[in-house]
Symmetry: C3
């Protein structure tokens, strides 16, 4: 039965090839290079998120930082599971590679010029951003979904994201430069809604593969640290001016630094004998980047940024320790990576901080619109995620059975070291490893 | 006998020190800092590859991206072998560190000003590029050659590369901004020619160490993803103008994204039960970067780039599955990393695409010269590689015997964990690891 | 007893939270965003290290390179120990995150404008730099100190560093663009002084956990290679003009390349059967970056830089092989990472090279002041380190007992794979790992 249902031999290649061919056709119809004539200082047409870059390549270094966050950061952050590293970094690459193409189309159709999407660095940064929503949601369902299910989630989530983003940025005119609301809160609650629909009673008591080993935790730290380092680029890449970018960099840099201290302190406080817990360190140290996102380009002062980061580190760590088990047992939300604690609550905190900051005049805008943006992001996420979950639940997408969750070998050829080890246990005296003379 | 032949105690230090001392002397004679007076818009003297940078440091962020590809990208991509990670990343560092010095000299002698090589960011990018040829060839002979052999290959290959590069760029005036022909195809076929000359019948039936373990595949993914992310910098770094750079970035970004989808789809299609194969994911996802190289700065349109990437992903994956075994069994070409599939065929595809694109007027140039450039690159590679292989085959360079192939412990001090494990198997009850109270 | 003394449950959270709250308050009083009005070409007020950047974000890509060196480079370089990876990368993150905040304050109070520290990219680069001293010293005491001890070291070392830096740069007016003296030599001798005070006779004969396993050496190479690649940014980030930056980049690039060859050669020359030693490769290949630091922006010529790097690689490798064992056995200096060989001696070499270069007129300055700067850096380091060590030695900071050194499980929740292995040894026939059907 599992063999039948998880065999991807035709399903996955067909879905992937058809999606890519359709995407290429759409690019043929819509996508052209930006000739540089339609943007810049005289190009404002009511959009708040047009780039300030004067030269074509000005934003390129920031794009590359964001690119590293998407592919190394998110990819390796999820490699903490002992037997799911291939999927974490490999499916992350698949979803992001498809998602950035789809995102370029979905975001581009709101800003057509002469019927075309004019591709430039600003637009590919935003395309990378759009994939972040999917990668966050991926964290909530990590280990429990098939590549086909996840490709479907990618299309639907990025489409819905683009609608909400357009509403928030262009209709409501709300500020969200670092995307606490439209990416982090959205991605988290979308993923949690999907996870709720895909609830697996059979995993109520845990799963032997749902945990880390020493080296898988080390790989995950590669993801954590790259996300942590480049977050200032994430929060400042699309800010409107050099000075706004500088503000966003400094706010994010300091928020993250303060967040590390509070995350470490609370981790030690709540754990057995005051020990630090890798789950907290890998995740809660990043909550300061999420929570300062909406306010990043606002004049909240270095101290304002640090307070936000400090609080985010506390909330996130406490969430991992106390809230996640409750969500799983009482609400049936099995959140593999704890995205609620890293992206969900800190994202809401960021949205709330943005409302307060705008109300206090730290940036032009209306507090009401900020609140509407937060509400819209949560609403689209929960409803969109639930509907997407229902589609993903159809029994034809190769979802793994409970006993094969969190296991690469369902969808990947995995080197047979386990078997070798077993063999060597049986025949320790005939060890193959004596190659050194 | 193996102990004698692979002992590097005097051979390697003498070769390395003598090479470095000679190199330093040559730098003393030829190398000076660029004072900024000889390049820029008025400095054109028939060279198509002089930098467009107006300020000394404009290209520095792109240089750093390329630098990461050379040292992390190539280095970790080759760590997939279970017992050859030290050599992969360590010898990669050695060869690239020597190669960039040698490349700076070999490339510089074609462009002397007042008898001097004026070192600037543009030149060190090209020096890094020259090492890429060696690192590609290294992939073909990985695990079967000694550090001394590889240093010899580095000198010879970069010297020959520089002649061909000068011919292609300055004499023929061909376009190859992302170096599909002069780096990727050249490096691959050079390496394959070396591998053919060094053919080892004893490895016809494989080798127990010629494979991966779970974590070595994870380390390799670090290399894959960094190469994938920074490839747009590789293909655009030496483009002539900001707009050409933008075009090259967008083409490469989209080609790679499309390539991921086709590589994953074909991997699943050809493997047992539709499972994904890490070898394909680690390598074929990058073929789009190789194949779009020659055309990267041409107006092929986003859709043109995506078609190239899509096709490259298919060709590369099929090559790993069906062609590599044939090359090994029928032609005696044992290509450890499958560079023919990642750099060889996609490089030729890139060269062919360039001929077509120039013929269609996507960039100024002559299709005949593009074809001559491809032919020249392949010719220099095959002849140069064969001659280099003959020199490397001399029995004095410490080449490892068959049974010690793919094994770090021939040339490296390796921690004795295997032995410890064996011991702990024998005395499980006296485990040393009970340090946690 | 160990359980009592290393339990961090209240100590660590209280120290971390109190330090962060105090820091946030100080930021509230002193820190504002730089409005761009006080620096630039007309802003010179006798400081030699004010930035040359004309636009707010010009230095941002270099900042990010330095950021990667601090968090990935230093963090992963220290993961070579088999059971201490969580602490290496995790405590590195903690110390650097706190240190950059403290450094921003300590460095800022010497340059107050209107009673405020005006935060900009130049200042956060310097804040990152200040943490490097602590991370170097951390290497000397790695595995033998508690997080609380290390937080105390962070505050004291950065405070003392800031005094010495102000003296060297602003009072003496000495050149040290790449900080061979004020960061590398200072950090190394500070750490060695601390290590001397914390001398553990019980570790005289080594410790079973004071060594690497295969994959821990691979993780360490991630640190090595990122440090190696981005060192040109470290040495050029705060140079005064574009041309000085270019000089610093080229000098560092070439010094490091030459250093790799000499480090590999000497490693092979001194080891058993000519094999390479990972300890040398991970560390001595970087000595060229340290040693060229002071001279990086001076007109020493490419050949001068290469000679410095070449010598540094030799000295550093010989230090690891012959000097470190003597320091441990005769002087009671147990230098876990060998920082004396990577930062100490090469730092002094850099300082001496700077004296010679200034005397030869390679840069404006006085050789006497360069010598005074070297002396001052060593003096502050040794005295400051000794005093700091005495404070750290107080028996209330949770220092681990000898038998628990080099072991994450004292301060971290560690996945129980060791135990599982033992169990599976006892019950090989009931292996849990048979999840693949």
């Amino acid at each position: 039965m599992p063999v039948y249902s998880t065999n991807m031999r035709l399903k996955f290649p067909i879905v992937a090839l058809v999606l890519e061919v359709i995407t290429i056709i759409l690019f043929g119809v819509f996508a052209v290079y930006d000739d540089g004539k339609s943007h810049g200082h005289d190009g404002h047409d009511g959009q708040s998120n047009e780039t300030h870059a004067e030269k074509a390549m000005d934003l390129y270094p920031m794009f590359q930082d964001v690119h590293v966050m998407i592919f190394i950061g998110f990819g390796f952050l999820m490699t903490f599971l002992k037997r799911y590293g291939f999927s974490s970094v490999g499916i992350n690459l698949l979803l992001a590679a498809f998602g950035l193409q789809w995102g370029l189309l979905m975001q581009g159709i709101w800003h057509l010029k002469d019927g075309k999407i004019k591709v430039n660095i600003f637009k590919i940064i935003n395309a990378d951003f759009s994939t972040a929503t999917v990668l966050i949601s991926f964290g909530a369902v990590l280990g429990k979904t098939s590549p086909v299910q996840l490709l479907i989630m990618t299309i639907l989530e990025i489409t819905i994201f683009s609608v909400n983003e357009h509403l928030v940025a262009n209709i409501l005119g709300a500020n969200d430069v670092g995307a606490s609301m439209i990416i982090h809160a959205f991605g988290a609650y979308f993923g949690l809604a999907v996870a709720r629909v895909l609830y697996r009673p059979g995993l109520r008591n845990g799963h032997e593969n749902d945990g880390s080993v020493y080296h898988s935790d080390m790989f995950a730290m590669i993801g954590t640290v790259f996300l942590w380092m480049f977050w200032p680029s994430f929060n400042s890449a699309i800010a409107e001016s050099d000075n706004d970018q500088l503000t966003a960099v400094i706010n994010t840099y300091l928020s993250l630094a303060a967040c590390v201290l509070s995350a470490y302190a609370i981790s030690s406080l709540v754990e057995h004998k005051g020990k630090l817990d890798m789950v907290h360190i890998q995740n809660a140290t990043l909550a300061g980047g999420v929570a300062v996102g909406t306010c990043a380009d606002m004049s909240i002062g270095p101290v304002g940024a640090m307070v936000i980061g400090f609080v985010a580190g506390i909330i996130s760590t406490l969430g991992f320790k106390y809230l996640s088990p409750i969500l799983a047992s009482k609400l049936g939300i099995q959140d593999t990576c704890g995205v609620h604690n890293l992206h969900g609550m800190p994202g809401i905190l960021g949205g709330l901080a943005g409302i307060v900051a705008v109300a206090l005049g730290k940036k032009k805008g209306e507090a009401t619109m900020q609140a509407a943006a937060l509400g819209s992001s949560l609403g689209f996420a929960l409803v969109g995620g639930a509907l997407t979950g229902l589609i993903m639940k159809l029994p034809i997408w190769g979802q793994p059975p409970d006993q094969n969750c969190f296991d690469d070998s369902v969808y990947w050829e995995v080197p047979e070291e386990e078997e070798e080890n077993e063999e060597s246990l049986a025949h320790a005296d005939h060890s193959k490893n004596k190659t050194e003379a």
